[in-house]
């Protein structure tokens, strides 16, 4: 909200104070479309996405999952898409679904299982009239609600693997650093190629999605990856975990490294590509990917590090994704040496 808006809201509050008898907030039973479109709502509950916050129960936001997900220190992620009543998502080939204005994408990060599960943060992407806005919300101790934390936070957390880490809740700018493309904030996850045909089909059946596009559901299911083609797994992993920065028009465009699924130029995806601005991130290696030699590849070196200035991804990572790294290592090792 701009200052004019704040001032107006202040005036409205004064006006309303005379007529509203109770200041107790009404528990929202439905999604607050105004909160999606305007202002910086202070509490996650202001949106009314969840009627049972702790168990993340929603009537109007549709849960979804990704075939190959982004690694975030092993956090469980609960993803929801909210599309306003009467509006429809447009399919755009195998790429990003085009959500109408008024939509919201919601992602809650949690650690622990069952009754021990703790919600840490919820990140919302709001599609407003002037574009997408990314906001981070931090859950309270009681797990009853989450508050807006534009500056993010740093929390001590024990991961599902039992590792004690300092977990970073991104600030509003850091949200954008991953979600920016050509200067605009954009969703990353819900691409048709990385969503199941079942889910997309249901969306079509319910009239919420225009069509089941060609190329849907082509990225491998990470949970069922045993026996899958290594190169396909690796390219899916890089697309989901790296390409939001490493592509033209995004944060790491100046590196010249383009890790998108659709990129087929070997140099662009790092094969025998020298570093540009890697600094000590290069770790003494000459190229991003040395075919046949994972240990001589900068990509492996940086994915295997947690040290700031070396570690990739730069944000949202306190631990190494050993499973993802193993796939990348295997992919590089299987390449014909050059």
């Amino acid at each position: 909200m701009n200052r004019a808006g704040l001032a107006l809201a202040g005036a409205m509050a004064v006006l309303c104070a005379g007529v509203v008898t109770s200041t107790t907030a009404r528990t929202p039973v439905s999604v607050n479309n105004v909160a999606i479109m305007e202002g910086l709502p202070k509490q996650l509950s202001d949106f009314g996405f969840f009627y049972r916050p702790r168990s993340q129960q929603s009537l109007q936001a549709v849960p979804y999952s990704l075939n190959t997900p982004l690694y975030s220190d092993g956090a469980a992620k609960l993803r929801f898409a909210y599309v306003p009543h009467g509006k429809q998502v447009i399919a755009d080939g195998d790429g990003l679904l085009q959500f109408p204005v008024g939509s919201a994408l919601i992602k809650t990060f949690a650690f622990g299982e069952g009754a021990d599960r703790r919600l840490i943060e919820t990140r919302v992407l709001l599609h407003r009239a002037n574009g997408w806005l990314a906001l981070p919300y931090l859950w309270n101790e009681e797990q009853s609600d989450a508050r807006l934390a534009v500056a993010g936070a740093r929390l001590d957390i024990t991961t599902s693997a039992g590792e004690d880490i300092s977990y970073r809740v991104p600030n509003k700018n850091q949200c954008k650093q991953c979600h920016v493309k050509d200067g605009e904030v954009t969703p990353i996850g819900p691409k048709a190629r990385n969503l199941s045909s079942d889910w997309l089909g249901e969306m079509v059946d319910e009239g919420r999605l225009s069509a089941l596009p060609d190329g849907a559901d082509t990225m491998p299911d990470w949970t069922m990856r045993d026996g899958a083609d290594t190169a396909t797994l690796a390219r899916a992993y890089l697309d989901v975990n790296c390409a939001h920065c490493h592509q033209p028009g995004s944060m790491a465009s100046n590196s010249g490294l383009d890790l998108r699924w659709e990129q087929d130029d070997p140099h662009a995806i790092g094969i025998r590509k020298p570093p540009v601005a890697a600094g000590r991130g290069a770790g003494g290696h000459a190229v991003s990917i040395e075919p046949g030699d994972a240990d001589a590849s900068i990509m492996v070196h940086r994915m295997g590090s947690t040290e700031p200035g070396v570690a990739m991804p730069e944000l949202g990572k306190g631990t190494v994704d050993t499973e993802g790294l193993a796939v990348i290592r295997e992919w590089i090792a299987e390449m014909e040496p050059q």
Partner: protein, 400 residues
């Protein structure tokens, strides 16, 4: 109540109409919660606002970022307001700027784990009297770049100080319309580096005790290639003999210790009226890109390079490259002030100094095939001054 409410509404209307011109100043003090308070101010700032860092040391654990156009971040001086990243545990740089028309002045960034201050796609940015320092001095574990504007138009870096960068102290990459002036760069691998950029002026800087003083490079395979139109003038480039401490793999790791000015690839680079002293390999070195590349847009040779009005002191007595010592011995104990690999196209040396060529004839040829001789200046050549770099008037206004 109704009358009161109307009054409130009238009051807020006045605020609404005045809001766009009312720039605010947000003052931040060091101490408890500085990370959150400063980051929140950077996020909630409106265009035109100024964020003031009071004097003192700010202990920070995460990178800071600014994404609002037209904001000024100002401290009480480069030695007074210190953003201390010694305990940093996250992010790839100390401060990241991604918005346009930003002014950074009068504060320091110390011991960032990655780059010091990076601005990406941030047009019309001013870095003025900023200090970026790795306080332990040269170390391969220091961050790569001190002041790091990339992918921008209209960049001004002035009166700043950078020490200890394990790549370049001041690095301007993939940008155009650039002025880097009056800075002091000390004990970095490269003091100042202009890379894959056009229309740059690097003037009146002091580059000393780096591995290489001032580098003008162009690399293949990047979104923007074809760097050129770079003026390097009136700088003092002295004693750049620090052992190269860049991590292997980076292009600057191949810069010999003792390099004054180095031009790699690029078109139209003019090196004028500099004082270049006591650089033990070579005061001015011109080379083609040495590695393999596959980029049709890329031109790997130095083209149309001019040297005019420079003052050269002693140097070249201990060249830091294979065969360098032998070459120096053959040439009477030291390399002459100017060295070319022989792959340049158009070299205009007005200065009355000898030039040695390594006699390479093909791009990518190994230095072991060098056939060094003294280069003979052509009798006649034509030469045109570069157009001066003009920054938008609005930037000059912000300097006042």
């Amino acid at each position: 109540m109704i009358r009161l409410s109307l009054a409130a509404l009238a009051l807020s209307s006045a605020v609404i109409s005045a809001a766009p011109v009312l720039a605010e100043t947000h003052t931040i003090a060091p101490g408890e919660g500085a990370q959150e308070r400063l980051q929140e101010a950077l996020i909630l700032a409106e265009p035109g606002d100024e964020i003031v860092l009071e004097a003192g040391r700010y202990a920070l654990t995460d990178g800071l970022s600014l994404d609002v156009d037209g904001v000024t971040l100002r401290g009480a001086g480069m030695d007074a307001s210190v953003l201390d990243f010694t305990q940093q545990v996250g992010a790839g740089e100390g401060l990241l700027v991604t918005s346009d028309d930003v002014t950074l002045r009068g504060f320091a960034v110390e011991n960032a784990k990655g780059d010091g201050i990076k601005s990406k796609g941030a047009d019309q940015i001013i870095y003025d009297a900023v200090r970026v320092e790795w306080t332990g001095g040269p170390d391969a574990n220091n961050g790569a770049y001190g002041i790091y504007p990339v992918e921008a138009s209209n960049v001004l870096v002035q009166n700043s100080y950078v020490r200890g960068a394990s790549d370049a102290g001041i690095y301007v990459g993939q940008s155009e319309n650039i002025i880097v002036r009056g800075n002091y760069v000390l004990e970095n691998v490269a003091g100042i580096e202009i890379e894959n950029s056009n229309f740059a002026e690097v003037t009146e800087n002091l580059a000393t005790k780096n591995t290489g003083g001032i580098l003008v490079f162009d690399l293949p395979g990047l979104p923007k290639v074809g760097g050129g139109s770079v003026l390097v003038a009136k700088n003092a480039i002295v004693d750049n003999n620090t052992d190269n401490f860049a991590p292997e793999g980076n292009i600057v790791a191949s810069v010999p210790a003792g390099t004054g000015v180095m031009v790699m690839a690029n078109e139209r680079v003019q090196i004028r009226e500099n004082s270049i002293f006591n650089n033990k390999t070579s005061h001015v070195m011109l080379i083609a890109y040495t590695q393999e590349f596959d980029d049709e847009r890329y031109q790997p040779r130095p083209v149309e390079i001019a040297l005019k009005g420079n003052i050269y002191g002693s140097g070249g007595s201990a060249p830091d490259f294979p065969g360098g010592e032998m070459l120096a011995a053959v040439l009477g104990g030291a390399l002459p002030p100017v060295l070319t690999d022989g792959l340049h196209q158009g070299l205009y040396v007005f200065d009355n100094v000898p030039v040695v060529t390594l006699g390479l004839t093909q791009v990518g040829q190994s230095i072991s095939e060098a056939a060094p001789t003294m280069w003979e200046k052509p009798d006649e050549f034509s030469f045109k001054d570069l157009e001066p770099v003009e920054l938008p008037a609005t930037m000059m206004t912000r300097l006042k």
